[in-house]
């Protein structure tokens, strides 16, 4: 591999690496707008100019490749600094400078580079700025709004629709200073990945209709997590303010979602505000419900599970929203009380496709972790009742205790007929974050953390084990499902008391072959592949 010297640091890179990427390897940041590692190189913004020994003119780092040994590059010479200053000046002379009312402010590359490479005053006086009248808020599609006045013409968005989504809705129209981004008449930007262009836009020209004016970005706290929209398992960053999730943004993982995520995934946190929340454990006697304390609630479940009724069975129904560890605990609880009736229910959704360097990853479940739950043991044992017997058949009638872990496990949890069927159990326990019709029908409703409030792992469609963490704590009276299940299981297996998620994972890795060799603390930020992830059983499809 050839070596290149960048600002006196020597780095060996594969032949064909461009100078921006090469610089990144040794911590040299070369500013750029139009370059993006997953889009074709167009060399348009001219921000990434560098000096190369033996070349009379400055060169664009994005379009200069390291092909042979001995290239010497300098990124902070007087000529480079002047070129960057000039480009910043050019970009700003016609920019509206409306940062106070711009959604991008705070995460705007024009702001950042102005600070770093620009100048604090304007030499563009007297003349009128070039504007695009009537083009300040053009809906390009259902999720994306264009303000042409703020555009710096980097064409990342255009290239995204041509090269990544493959839909080509966006075009670059007109010429010179009047050059503009737009859609073709009657062809809105409505592909399933459309909001990615908002992430790609380095400035405030493209904004998201969902996030627009919701929050100043500097108030947002961020935590790496996973999307729950389907079983692709896109890596995301949860961005919230004091526990109110404002948006999901894709987190780079070349093995899964690369730099992208779909519009559907971005809408998933909205469910936490659309549905009412279960606020405290709630017990029912007849038509009366009353709030109960956690100890009383867990006592009640324990008592029911200990009373070995001769004509009733204990059934445990989980969902694809459970973390692998929660599913493991649920299946272990079933084992502890000697029940083979363990199942997981997942709605199948419309296919969600995400491109990554290896191709397209397609998710079909409407939940993120059906595979993880099954691998963790949430599958019917010998003679066990399966999920469809409970939801479609009359299986619940045979249950003395039916434990449903996830009050919002799918469409069925909101379906009066299904709720009626499940209600046939003698004692219905529903654990979940949402106060759904199912939770309201339960004898005991246990409020637990939302996805954003807990730690755990998911196993995606390709058998990749990925970790997520709590972005913020759950409200008072609400506990995370893992600790509830640990406490419950400890009533039958005292050694489990007080286990953390890592300890649960460790036992699962010992007892479930699919996870053997994996350790909670050693799962990389981008996940790791389970060596042999078996294909899911068709029976569990909804």
């Amino acid at each position: 591999m050839p070596t290149v010297t960048i600002d006196d640091r020597i780095v060996e890179v594969p032949a064909g690496t461009n100078l921006i990427d090469a610089g990144q390897r040794v911590g040299v940041q070369i500013p750029h707008y139009c370059y993006h590692p997953r889009l074709s190189v167009v060399g348009q913004c001219r921000m990434c100019m560098v000096e190369i020994e033996g070349m009379p003119k400055l060169q664009a780092a994005c379009s200069t490749q390291v092909v042979k040994d001995g290239m010497v590059v300098r990124t902070r010479t007087a000529a480079v600094v002047e070129a960057q200053r000039a480009v910043m000046e050019f970009l700003l002379i016609n920019h509206p400078l409306d940062c106070p009312i711009c959604d991008q402010a705070g995460e705007c590359e024009l702001q950042d580079y102005s600070f770093k490479h620009g100048q604090a005053f304007s030499r563009f006086r007297y003349e009128e700025k070039r504007t695009y009248p009537e083009k300040e808020r053009i809906p390009l599609g259902p999720h994306v709004l264009l303000n042409m006045n703020r555009c710096i013409h980097c064409t990342r968005c255009v290239r995204f629709t041509e090269e990544v989504s493959g839909t080509g809705e966006l075009g670059f129209f007109q010429r010179g200073a009047h050059k503009e981004i737009g859609v073709f008449p009657g062809k809105p930007l409505d592909n399933p990945l459309s909001t990615c262009v908002v992430d790609l836009c380095p400035v405030g020209a493209l904004t998201s209709t969902r996030f627009r004016f919701a929050e100043r970005v500097w108030y947002l706290d961020k935590r790496p997590s996973l999307c729950t929209g389907c079983d692709v398992g896109c890596n995301v960053t949860i961005e919230h303010r004091r526990g109110r999730v404002r948006r999901y943004k894709p987190r780079v993982n070349p093995e899964v979602n690369d730099h992208w995520m779909c519009d559907h995934g971005r809408t998933t946190p909205e469910r936490y505000t659309e549905l009412p929340r279960l606020a405290a454990p709630r017990a029912r006697r007849g038509d009366e419900t009353r709030p109960v304390g956690w100890r009383e609630a867990i006592d009640a479940v324990t008592q029911r599970l200990r009373a070995r009724s001769s004509d009733g069975t204990f059934a445990f129904l989980g969902s694809g929203f459970l973390s692998t560890e929660e599913a493991y605990l649920l299946s272990t609880l079933a084992e502890a009380v000697g029940s083979p009736h363990r199942a997981v229910w997942v709605d199948s959704g419309p296919p969600r496709r995400i491109p990554n360097p290896a191709g397209w990853l397609e998710g079909r479940d409407a939940a993120p972790n059906r595979r993880g739950a099954e691998l963790a043991g949430l599958v019917p044992g010998p003679g066990g009742i399966d999920a469809s017997e409970l939801l479609v058949g009359a299986g619940a009638g045979r249950c003395s205790v039916l434990f449903v872990a996830d009050s919002d496990f799918g469409r069925a949890a909101h379906d009066a007929k299904v709720v009626e069927r499940l209600r046939a159990a003698q004692f219905l326990v529903v654990m979940g974050w949402a106060d759904t019709p199912l939770a309201r029908a339960a004898d005991l409703a246990l409020p637990v953390a939302t996805h954003a409030e807990r730690d755990g792992t998911f196993v995606n469609v390709a058998g990749r084990l990925q970790r997520f963490g709590a972005a913020f704590p759950p409200p008072t009276q609400v506990r995370d499902a893992l600790s509830v299940l640990v406490e419950l299981l400890a009533r039958f297996r005292p050694e489990v008391a007080g286990w953390s998620v890592g300890e649960v994972f460790a036992e699962m890795a010992r007892r479930r072959p699919a996870f053997s060799g994996h350790a909670w603390a050693r799962i990389p930020a981008t996940g790791s592949s389970l060596a042999s992830a078996p294909e899911p059983t068709a029976a569990a499809q909804g």
Partner: protein, 432 residues
Amino acid sequence: MAFEKVLTRNVGNPAVLRTRGYRDTGGYDALSKALRMAPEEVIEEVKRSGLRGRGGAGFPCGMKWSFVPRQSPQPKYIVCNADESEPGTFKDRLLMEFDPHQLLEGCVIAGWAVGANTTYIYIRGEYTKAASVLEEAVRDAYASGILGDSVLGTGFRHDIHVHRGAGAYICGEETGLLESLEGRLGQPRVKPPFPAVVGAFGCPTVINNVETLCCVPHIVQRGADWFKGIGPDERNTGPKLYAVSGHVERPGTYEHPIGITFQELLDGCGGMYQGRALKAVIPGGASAPMLGPEDREIPLDFDRLARAGSMLGSAAVIVMDETTCVVRATLRLARFFAHESCGQCTPCREGTNWMAKILARIESGKGTEADLDLLASVVPNVGGISLCALGDASQGPVKSMIAKFGEEIRDNLRHGRYPLPRRRIFELGAVA
């Protein structure tokens, strides 16, 4: 020794518009000679002739041909750049309208030399007459066995397509031309890769100007030494068309040996209009920096003009007399570049416009000396870091305006003389 016209020898002879008439003047003899030579020999001959590109950049033609990878399994293409849109330039139009077969012959020889079976002639959209003349000539050449599956019966296949542009200066930039030819927005590409390796449709491509290709048959027919004998030295050879416009008595396209002085050229055009004094001259099209009256004796060739801080470019000589407001003239050119900038890259998109705005302020009388200083500091940023040569080109007139006429403009600004009175450029003759 009187110079015998080469490229324009057939101008005014309508017979040469037909293949037969062209052949009667010795046309296509060079092609049949070239087809008897090895392709490498043709390239070598053109290399030795010292022929440099006539489109503006002056790149050695033979060397450009030799960059095409011989062994490439991909098809190769010849593209003739007939998108003549540099303001002041109208030499290629003459060649296409009056002697189309000379160009076709050059194209086929180039195709033979580099192993290309197809030529695209990308012609400026406004050149409707030239396009129809060329199309007619191509039809006639097919009918006469010059083009098609077997050129002159040799079994070498060559096709020529005439492709009309839609009216953008930037499509004269070679990679902008290729984008447009391929059916996309005419925007220059990032280089490298250069077209010789990755050109039209991703294949190796040679792009030559009309006049360059028109020189080729003569080099093949009469030899590189003959060609080298014309012109002042080894690096500036051959006949050259100069398109003269502006304040001269007889504007038009003139063929001279390359490297005659401006004064000689002017004398050939009947001198300055009404004998007025020379103020400024643009020697090579809109992007060439202006020269002043003191530069009359500079030979108009690639190297000497470059040394004088200007360039031969397309050899479009725009002459301005003492009645000209140089700021207004420069503003006109700056507006042209701002209008024609493709808008891809930052310095050109924003810079060309800004320069035009500052010039407009000065020209209108609202400017100050500080504006001239600002302009001087903005100009160097527009070129140098732009994606293609248009940004660089747009600097030429403005930079030279400041260099040559800065003191005069300052004086005018100090005394509030702008806007200078608009004078009628040409007195209208009495209408009978």
